[in-house]
Symmetry: C2
Subunit: 361 residues, 2 copies
């Protein structure tokens, strides 16, 4: 009888962080690509663009003027998704009316920030120096600490800080000046809430940490480990959805950037530089992705805090080349996330790539 072969037979993999499944159809990677194969466009951006609203000294859409910053620069988003200044929402309906049962609503307050990684219009993470990247990590840490102080003192209703970066036009980024965002809300967003719940359940059941155990397992199996240093490890998770998705985790139990010492900061800067260099080298292009940090809520129970484990998700859309991406559409939206190549195949490609020398150097 034929053996079950992960590189040839369809299967579903369970994501223990979100308690959902991914359908993996590895033989499908063999189908001929019928879509377009465009040329790689090598864009040559200037150091400074007088029309960029993120460059130092320039005027933003609202009329505010950026300072002549020479390092990482953070400011409040001019078109924020959430604001502090709005009235409270109170549900008017009784829960036993149809409306009360079916149309549930909550008001959401908060604050949104834009973080320019560097004054330089054309730098991206793989091209920045580790020293410059440490400043970005410092900014993430300081923002977390400051907002937590406000939250704990009762000055602001903050519960969770979502730090993220959309990189590249393919990921809805409309300004190439390297920047990330941070949205701070008075609720824990759905995805984070699910992770905390599942990590909490795991902890209650096994008296150890889901991600701590997962790191042990990955270090034993080795085939999905892309990068590692003293403080962090990068894997293509067993349950990855995006073709070259990765998960960056602290090796010891750090619940948030608040727990970071100087060594952690340098190690994170260094591993992010190597990872994004590998990404750029994969298809010789400035690799698009959305990435972000998952960490402990700003305000939560001790139990929730202990269930948290600092990690970052990288969700890059590219599949076969600089211009052919994976679409999460019909079946993915209506049925279940689906991927073609296996996580192990993706990891093998990322492992062999150079993480120390960028293809543009």
């Amino acid at each position: 009888t034929q053996q079950f072969d992960f590189t040839n037979h369809s299967h579903r993999r369970h994501n223990p962080l979100t308690n959902t499944y991914v359908l993996c159809s590895p033989h499908r990677a063999k189908r001929p690509w019928q879509g377009a194969r465009e040329e790689v466009k090598k864009t040559n951006l200037p150091d400074y663009d007088p029309k960029c609203y993120l460059c130092p000294g320039n005027i933003r859409a609202t009329g505010d003027v950026n300072p002549k910053f020479d390092s990482t620069f953070i400011f409040t988003n001019d078109y924020p998704a959430v604001k502090l200044d709005q009235p409270d929402y109170t549900e008017e309906e009784e829960s036993d009316t149809l409306k009360g049962r079916l149309l549930k609503t909550e008001g959401v307050k908060g604050k949104c920030f834009v973080i320019c990684f560097s004054p330089n219009h054309n730098l991206t993470i793989p091209i920045m120096t580790i020293k410059e990247l440490v400043k970005v990590v410092n900014t993430w840490q300081k923002l977390y600490n400051d907002l937590q102080t406000e939250a704990l003192s009762g000055d602001a209703p903050y519960k969770y800080l979502q730090i993220f970066e959309n990189k590249g036009f393919a990921m809805g980024c409309s300004n190439p000046h390297p920047h990330g965002q941070a949205w701070c809300l008075d609720v824990v967003p759905t995805e984070v809430d699910h992770e905390l719940e599942n990590m909490g359940n795991y902890h209650r059941k096994y008296h150890s940490h889901l991600l701590g155990d997962y790191i042990k397992l990955e270090l034993e199996e080795k085939e999905r480990v892309v990068l590692e240093n003293d403080s962090f490890i990068v894997v293509v998770p067993y349950w990855a959805l995006w073709p070259f998705e990765t998960l960056v985790m602290s090796k010891e139990h750090l619940t948030s950037t608040a727990d970071f010492n100087e060594k952690h900061k340098t190690d994170l800067a260094s591993i992010l530089k190597k990872l994004t260099t590998k990404y750029d080298n994969l298809f010789n292009t400035s690799f698009p992705y959305s990435m972000g940090i998952h960490q402990a809520p700003l305000k939560c129970s001790e139990e929730e805090k202990n269930a948290s484990w600092f990690h970052m998700h990288f969700y890059p859309p590219l599949l076969r080349s600089a211009t052919v991406k994976k679409f999460c559409v019909g079946f993915e939206m209506l049925g279940e996330p689906q991927r073609d190549l296996t996580s192990e195949q993706a990891a093998a490609r990322l492992i062999e790539l150079n993480g120390d020398k960028h293809f543009m150097e």
Copy 2:
């Protein structure tokens, strides 16, 4: 004191079908668009394209030749995501090892189909006649019935049939010849499973149907109802994520297309034509979307069958014009789905559009 205003203040809306939230930031719709505004490309496709692998009489990638079909044509996908012919997967690990706890896997078998809506290379749903569209609905019904017969007799391990269409290059469709797909699996996919669970919970709690109650409520409130005929209703759901997302529901309790009579089929064909005509007229373009049918599993308990309610989701990505789309990226992937304009604002735009005359006519 200021009143809470749904068109100005951020809030989250609960999706009772999936038990998740959408963050709605209506004031954000006011931000100036800084991204590109491309020209609308009016593509003039021929009736027949000798290089199209879906046109009648042409050779497919695998060497098979399409018959000279003159109506809807269905065949087995040449590069299917799932196949019947693969060995069973048996979990080797004990559940008390790290691997057993964290790397959960299931084998998945099934069959994938491609459904050409019409022999004509350049017809889309809004441009097809109701008579032609009834043939598509017939094909969906026959496929469901045939696969159910196989499933119930034990000839095949089928559990769920996911019918869907990816329309337009923006939705990962690589061939403009109008076609949909149908993936039949031996598992109930995650999204469907969540809906069935939540509809089942609702039924146990309130002794009535979630979607039946929702239709009552929408017919009272009216402001989100886009279209209605004897058998079906189309709304922008209260919890919509995509800017112009809609939900098509049977008005009476039909659990699947197996329950459809001739009148239901004509009414579905007719309302789909009107809805997609409105979509095309919104931005004067052939409107991209992913859409699909959610209905009762092919094989399930009586309780699960009764909890099912025939409905279709339309997930269109466009936001402001034929070329500016909503990106579900950073915050959406890491935090929570987010939208700018409210469902009521989207519904108002769709309601006023002509559903009887296509802009190309």
